[in-house]
């Protein structure tokens, strides 16, 4: 029986059953090694603990139940090494060193074993009990590798389990292996990694000297000595900061040792140590792995020949992106209508059952405020979810990395590199996880530049605004191209801004990167669902919390204060509504900013709706819904789209969409920017810069468009 319980990042364990143990296993591995799939298979669930703002350590935790024993599983961030360059690497390393998990499960990609073992070797250096997983072993066998598990186990000194998490093979065996270690009293350590005669001689000398400092830092002395020879910045800083004269003299000793090593090898000590690690790995692989074919020339390579070719690479990329949006629209339409009808039906039921109907303030709050507000946003859920399905498919299939390669030439011109493309694509879903995804960029300037322009990647929350206005103002054949155009405008502006930032505030070289191209594979439905759900959930969470609260506040703002009875005398119902709106707080704010907003095509109603957009972009739609459906429950109901068509021109619609695209990053984005960049100046710069840019662009568009007579033509 398998049960799973995900607990928060801060808590260690939550008892699910009385017989639970304190046994903890940490999962580490390369980003493309299939770690998440394996984690889900072991814990039996597709749930994730999302990386969310303000959390520095984002280790996901789950519970594995096997043969009556329970084990806590900790999913460490996916990294290629345990150097202290990116925050993720430091988290993985310090988790193992400070939290002392009972066993580290090092997950390797069997189809590129040598590279994967580089991380495993660094786990071995930490001196913890380990299990090695050869994941994707089915793929490896197909491309001609035969593994002698027994020999490899002996050479590395740890149990080894071949798996294929994708096909759910080897999962029971892995659970057995974990349980074996749990039951056994003694916990054998992996073999000691050795680095050749010269380095070993230096380590032998330096290790006893490092003993005292190592104890202070609660680290293994040999590991501290090794890190010193590797010039590890984190260890050096801690020595300088915490160990006083002892630390200083240790650093001097290490410096001398480094000098001797570099003189002997004629190369930098960190290169020599990396080489020695690969020497150790190659030695093990030579004995334990037989390879039948010399080079891989599989389907994956043949796809790459076409997809990354100079001639076809960019067209294929653009066609895929076009279909991503096209499918989203075509498939989303029926589900959208269903939700729209359900929301309308729910509103009618509530108001007809409520004594006094929408004349009653509480009923109006519920129907017009909450049901209308949240419903107006949920209508677009199918489109957003479908977009995420498409993105998940491209990511899981391996295409995204090729997209990054194709985009690199272009990205480089604007001062970003290929890897920034991946957070950018996530940004089309939601800016918050996109900002989190920039953690994979190790250079701080690359990262800041990417984060600052990410809001221009039009997020899912702005999608409702476009679908509403596009569907209201433009005929079917124009819809997909206009939507595409808005997204492309965002991308173009992001490009310009990134280039500007790179030339001014954040100068630096962006072309120093290495990126893996994982082999193509058919995504599994489970994997796609899991990725889609992870992102969609954040959207729903926003709809059910931020948007409910904001809808209520906005309902009050749009309903109070009420106008005097005399003002409403001798007016038709429609005129009365208009007066009521005008006198409300929101209306007054809208009126106040109208003179500023008029030149860019906004009236006081749309200006009012912008106030809500700061809380979350989709509230713009919710608030337009409230503004236009107030007091209408007794009439034949107009849909929001019809009301918009009656009140605005297509040119105004374009300006509204473009202003919403560029201006005012939402509250959640700014909070995430603050926590990830560590300073308020970055989100504030983002807020001010983007809003100013939005104003200038829409000003030119609206005034130019009106002057050229597009107003009447469109």
């Amino acid at each position: 029986m398998i049960e799973e319980k995900i607990v928060g990042n801060t808590k260690r364990t939550v008892p699910a059953q009385p017989e639970k143990s304190e046994f903890r296993a940490a999962l580490g591995g390369n980003p493309n090694a299939g770690k998440t799939t394996l984690f889900n298979a072991l814990t039996g669930g597709q749930h994730h603990v999302a990386n969310y703002p303000g959390v520095t350590v984002t280790a996901k935790e789950g519970l594995m139940l096997h043969k009556g024993h329970s084990t806590s599983l900790i999913d460490l961030p996916g990294t290629y090494s345990l150097a202290a360059y990116s925050p993720d690497e430091l988290v993985a390393r310090n988790y193992v060193l400070d939290q002392h998990p009972d066993v580290v499960i090092s997950i390797c990609d069997a189809s590129s074993l040598e590279r994967s073992l580089y991380l495993a070797v660094q786990f071995m250096e930490l001196r913890v009990p380990m299990i090695l997983v050869l994941n994707k072993s089915d793929l490896a066998e197909k491309s001609g590798h035969i593994f002698n598990i027994e020999i490899l186990e002996r050479l590395l000194g740890m149990p080894i389990v071949p798996t294929s998490a994708h096909r759910e093979e080897g999962i029971q065996e892995l659970k057995d292996a974990i349980l074996n270690i749990e039951i056994r009293k003694e916990r054998p350590l992996p073999v000691k990694v050795t680095y050749g005669r010269e380095i070993e001689a230096e380590l032998e000398q330096l290790t006893p000297m490092a003993a005292q400092a190592a104890e202070h830092l609660s680290r293994d002395p040999r590991w501290v000595a090794l890190k010193l020879l590797e010039k590890d910045a984190y260890v050096r800083n801690r020595l300088t900061g915490e160990c006083g004269t002892d630390g200083a003299s240790l650093l001097t000793q290490a410096g001398e040792a480094i000098g001797r090593i570099e003189k002997h090898f004629g190369d930098r000590s960190e290169i020599v140590i990396a080489d020695q690690r690969y020497g150790f790995i190659s030695g093990a692989c030579q004995e334990a792995v037989t390879t039948t074919s010399e080079m891989r020339h599989d389907i994956s390579d043949r796809i790459d020949d076409i997809v990354t070719s100079e001639l076809l690479g960019i067209p294929i990329f653009l066609v895929l992106m076009y279909f991503l949006f096209k499918l989203t629209f075509t498939l989303g339409a029926p589900a959208m209508m269903l939700i729209e009808a359900t929301v309308g039906w729910l509103g009618n039921i509530v108001s007809s059952l409520w004594p006094g109907g929408t004349e009653n303030a509480l009923c109006s709050l519920l129907v017009d405020g909450i049901i209308g507000g949240v419903g107006g946003v949920l209508v677009f859920l199918p489109n957003i979810a479908l977009l995420f399905v498409g993105i998940a498919f491209l990511e899981d299939s391996g295409y995204m990395a090729r997209g990054a390669f194709i985009m690199d030439r272009f990205m480089h011109k604007i001062g970003l590199h290929g890897r920034s493309f991946i957070p950018a694509v996530v940004g089309f879903g939601c800016t918050v996880p996109a900002i989190m995804a920039t953690r994979a960029l190790e250079n701080k300037r690359d990262r800041l530049t990417t984060m600052l322009v990410l809001p221009l990647m039009s997020c899912g929350a702005r999608f409702p605004i476009y679908t509403l206005f596009i569907a209201a103002f433009f005929p079917q054949p124009w819809r997909a191209p206009i939507l595409m155009g808005i997204y492309l405008l965002g991308i173009a502006l992001a490009a310009l801004l990134a280039k500007l930032l790179r030339k001014t505030l954040l100068k630096g070289d962006t072309s120093l990167f290495v990126m893996e191209l994982p082999p193509y594979r058919m995504p599994t439905p489970r994997g796609i669902l899991s990725h889609t759900w992870e992102r969609t959930r954040q959207f729903i969470r926003k709809a059910s919390t931020v948007i409910v609260v904001a809808s209520c506040i906005l309902w009050v703002l749009t309903n109070y204060p009420k106008p005097d009875a005399e003002q409403l005398e001798n007016l038709t119902t429609v005129e009365q509504q208009s007066v009521e709106l005008s006198t409300s707080i929101a209306g007054r704010i809208g009126h106040t900013i109208e003179p500023i907003m008029r030149p860019i095509g906004f009236d006081w109603k749309t200006s009012t709706a912008l106030i809500g957009a700061f809380a979350a972009k989709e509230i713009f739609v919710a608030q337009l819904g409230i503004v236009y459906s107030l007091g209408e429950a007794d009439e034949e109901s107009y849909t929001l789209r019809q009301r918009l068509r009656e009140n605005y021109t297509p040119l105004q619609a374009l300006c509204i969409m473009i202003f919403c695209l560029i201006s005012i990053p939402c509250v959640a984005t700014m909070a995430t920017m603050k926590s990830e960049s560590g300073a308020w100046r970055w989100p504030l710069l983002q807020f001010g810069g983007l809003t100013l840019l939005a104003y200038l662009i829409t000003l030119v568009l609206y005034q130019g468009g009106t002057l050229l007579g597009f107003e009447s033509m469109l």
């Binding site: 290629y80 090494s81 150097a83 360059y85 189809s111 590129s112 040598e114 590279r115 580089y118 991380l119 491309s143 010039k231 190369d267 930098r268 960190e270 290169i271 990396a274 080489d275 690690r277 690969y278 080079m295 891989r296 390579d301 790459d304 990354t308 070719s309 100079e310 990395a401 990054a404 390669f405 690199d408 030439r409 480089h412 590199h417 290929g418 190790e442 070289d509 962006t510 072309s511 120093l512 990167f513 290495v514 990126m515 893996e516 191209l517």
Partner: protein, 86 residues
């Protein structure tokens, strides 16, 4: 042993062995964790700007700033058909 050339000068589909990496600790570490260190055999799969190489039976994109820093020793003799990447 022939004189080492940079990866930038190595032609498409040519195989070579890494001799030296010119760069700071960050660059060396990054390349090492992706499988590139001294003695590693690699093959250029696609060139110009960022290039794709095959190394340790995986494919990697190398940013074009990184390319000239990787010094290699070509394994096969150059044929007249081989053109430099740039």
């Amino acid at each position: 042993m022939t004189k080492p050339i940079s990866l930038k000068e190595l032609g498409l589909n040519r195989t070579a062995r890494v001799v030296k990496i010119d760069g700071g600790r960050g660059i060396v570490q990054r390349l090492a964790e992706m499988g590139i260190s001294s003695g590693t055999e690699l093959r250029v799969v696609r060139g110009k700007g960022p290039i794709i190489i095959e190394v340790r039976r995986q494919r990697l994109v190398i940013g074009h700033g990184m390319v000239p820093r990787i010094m290699v020793d070509p394994i096969e003799p150059a044929t007249p058909d081989d053109k430099p990447i740039l």
